[in-house]
């Protein structure tokens, strides 16, 4: 095989992976994938630049040893990388059998080529996150007088460790993986607490080494994924799914039954609940009181949006049988919305209970909670409706999750919440939710009418 033919085959293969993972559902998948990726890279650069500018005027604590600073940046990268994997559900693909993977395993490729086909989407997402943080990290480095290159490297490595750590096949359960990740984050936070209390010496160095070791341990995921995805055969046997059918639910709750029976949505819901519960418990254990409990509720909203993104992807993009058989796109959207609202409210509940003590008016707080959860659930559903992130569609999963989460985070800023009363904020959240809901209807109806015309 000549090097030219080798590189041509690799180029075609990787272009195909990019098309399928990031450009699904469009007329020209490769162009669409490249446009989407470029858009997200530009968005990441702009977002990072805005944050860096804000940071530029802020007062940063000086006198932090560079080893601690590197450890902090590594850990933040680790947490963000891991959270991105959990939010997008990409890590669930680590041990799964998909057709594309089967096709690749039958192709006469070199092991590292085969492995890179699986890693490519993750590399793209990692790149977007690295670019997002680069200007922030460089600003910090400039203000604190440390090497910008080294700090950027720490950021990139931290992100990578957070992402690849979740790729390991053992433990196979997404719940246990999430628990382990949350556990590692808790350990890191506890170590930083110790670090701030200790004033140098051997103990100080030991803590730093432990932090570095936790980050380095994540390499296991990378190595494991290489051994799993580089071989030309699939592993293990197909699992048998036996579902418990909740017979007590009325027929009109069919969508909730569907969500429960679908492995992916069930896992997503479990992970969102787990993150929400662990955050709420840590707030309660620490006994923290918040001056702005309304702002903190956004955390629960982000988790609800994350979950809501996955829902539309459980059905076919065009003409889902669920729509044809059960009353058309309007009926489908109605059922989806009810399901998503129900689950979204449950996901936010732990945060509500953890924070309601800090609120002055309980009625307003409850109304705020309901409006923000409704908004985030509907926005998540809208992002899912646009991208339709089917299982293993890495790009669509990432794009929809990022779109939904950033909308929930940026909406208060865009609507200038700092200048309006809480009751006005509730009205704004609700209005925006209704608008997004109407857009979902429009989107589905147009999609239904456009079917077969391209």
């Amino acid at each position: 095989m000549t090097p030219q033919s080798q590189s041509r085959s690799s180029r075609l293969l990787y272009a195909t992976i990019v098309s399928t993972r990031f450009g699904g559902g469009s007329e020209n998948p490769l162009r669409s994938a490249l446009t989407r990726i470029t858009g997200f890279y530009v968005g990441a650069v702009c977002g990072g630049y805005v944050m860096a500018k804000t940071l530029h005027n802020a007062q940063l604590p000086t006198g932090i040893p560079s080893s601690v600073l590197f450890a902090i940046v590594l850990s933040i990268g680790f947490i963000l990388g891991g959270f991105a994997m959990l939010a997008t559900g990409i890590f669930q693909q680590a041990g799964s059998r998909i057709v594309m993977q089967s096709m690749i395993s039958l192709m006469p490729l070199r092991p590292r080529q085969r492995w890179f086909c699986t890693m490519l989407p993750i590399v793209v997402i990692w790149g977007i996150l690295v670019v997002f943080g680069l200007s922030i990290v460089c600003t910090i480095a400039q203000k604190l007088g440390v090497s910008a290159v080294m700090l950027s490297l720490a950021w990139a490595l931290g992100l990578l460790s957070g992402m690849v750590g979740l790729l390991a096949r053992r433990p196979s359960s997404p719940f246990i993986k999430t628990v382990l990740f949350v556990g590692q984050v808790s350990v890191l936070l506890a170590l930083f607490d110790h670090l701030l209390q200790s004033s140098g010496g051997q103990h100080f160095n030991q803590i730093i080494i432990v932090i570095y070791a936790i980050i380095a341990l994540q390499c296991y995921g990378l190595i494991d994924s290489y051994f799993y995805h580089s071989v030309g055969t699939l592993h293990g046997s197909k699992p048998e799914h036996r579902q418990i059918i909740p017979k007590f639910l009325p027929l009109s709750a069919w969508f909730l039954v569907k969500l429960w029976r679908n492995n992916r949505t069930r896992t997503s819901f479990g992970i969102a609940m787990l993150l929400s519960l662990s955050t709420a418990i840590s707030m309660l254990v620490r006994g923290t009181t918040f001056s702005d409990p309304y702002g903190m509720l956004i955390l629960g909203a982000i988790l609800a949006a994350m979950f809501a993104c996955d829902i539309r992807g459980t059905m076919r993009r065009a003409i889902p049988p669920e729509a044809v058989l059960l009353g058309g796109p309007k009926s489908l959207v109605l059922s989806e919305s009810l399901g998503v609202l129900f689950c979204g409210l449950i996901i936010g509940l732990p945060m509500y209970f953890a924070l309601h003590g800090s609120a002055v008016s309980q009625v307003l707080f409850l109304m705020f909670y309901l409006s923000v959860q409704t908004f985030s659930s509907i926005v998540g559903l809208f992002a899912g409706t646009v991208f339709v992130p089917s299982a293993h569609d890495t790009g669509a999963q990432f794009f929809s999750a990022m779109t939904a989460c950033s909308t929930v985070m940026l909406f208060p800023r865009a609507a200038q919440f700092s200048h309006v009363s809480v009751s006005m904020q509730i009205a704004l959240w609700s209005e925006a939710a209704v608008t997004a809901w109407a857009l979902i209807f429009v989107f589905e109806i147009i999609r239904r009418k456009q079917y077969g015309r391209t």
Binding site: S9, S19, T20, G23, V99, P108
Partner: protein, 250 residues
């Protein structure tokens, strides 16, 4: 079509687990070049599991499949290139690519050093044979039958030694079935071995040189089609007899 080196596919003590409740046990099986072997059986008897294992997808928990002495479940590119797979699965395509792009990709991966013009000609010839013209349409939007045609071309374009076909006739129109059979026969005459899984006994009788009957993951019959027809009248009668015996003994 050129005559090719004679390779042998052999199965020795193969045990493949599909899930916790189903596995197949194939103590011995040899497929010789220039023959058609049909694997027949009822629904859920293990045909597709055996096919996926022969292709190299499902790893064995015991025993092995060897292609001319080389393990089929390995990373050896020569072994991978020796096998062409036509699955009975609508999703076994890359729906985002057009048929042309898909074939280009497979050509570059399967035979990177071969002349692109020659391979394109081969693909075009097969497409003409199968009456497939939708080269510039995304595969995801093709009809079921056209997807099957794409899968057949994709499975044969690198001129493999072993063509493993799962339910060839599913989704194809009558003309395409005849043309696809002719394509496979031509490959067989040039020395390729064809292994076809099917539940269509009439077709198996007409198409195969040898019948392998599988029931609950075990081979219950392996015989030349001509012998079965001579002794029992048809493959169908033999099949029913075996299944009735099994039902009575159960």
């Amino acid at each position: 079509m050129r005559k090719r080196q004679r390779l042998l596919l052999s199965v020795d003590g193969l045990r493949v687990r599909r899930n916790a409740r189903f596995e197949i046990n194939i103590p011995f099986l040899v497929v010789t070049p220039g023959t058609v072997t049909c694997i027949v059986g009822a629904n859920g008897s293990g045909k597709t599991t055996l096919v996926e294992s022969l292709v190299g997808l499902l790893p064995p928990i015991e025993g092995e499949v060897r292609i001319n002495g080389q393990k089929a479940h390995s990373d050896n590119p020569l072994v991978k290139r020796a096998v062409g797979y036509v699955p009975d699965d609508d999703t076994w395509i890359i729906p985002e690519l057009t048929a042309r792009e898909y074939f280009e990709l497979l050509m570059s991966v399967q035979l990177p050093s071969q002349s692109r013009v020659l391979m394109r000609r081969r693909v075009e010839q097969m497409a003409r044979d199968l009456i497939f013209t939708s080269f510039d349409q995304q595969l995801g939007y093709l009809s079921h039958g056209n997807k099957k045609k794409v899968q057949i071309i994709a499975g044969l374009l690198h001129d493999p030694h072993f063509i493993i076909v799962d339910e060839l006739r599913n989704g194809l129109d009558p003309i395409a079935i005849i043309r696809a059979e002719a394509l496979l026969k031509a490959r067989m005459q040039s020395g390729s071995a064809i292994i076809a899984a099917t539940h269509d006994l009439w077709w198996a009788e007409r198409f195969a040189d040898e019948i392998v009957m599988i029931r609950r993951g075990h081979i219950v019959l392996r015989e030349a089609t001509a012998t079965i027809v001579r002794q029992y009248g048809s493959v169908e009668s033999r099949f029913m007899e075996l299944y009735n015996d099994a039902a009575i003994s159960k």
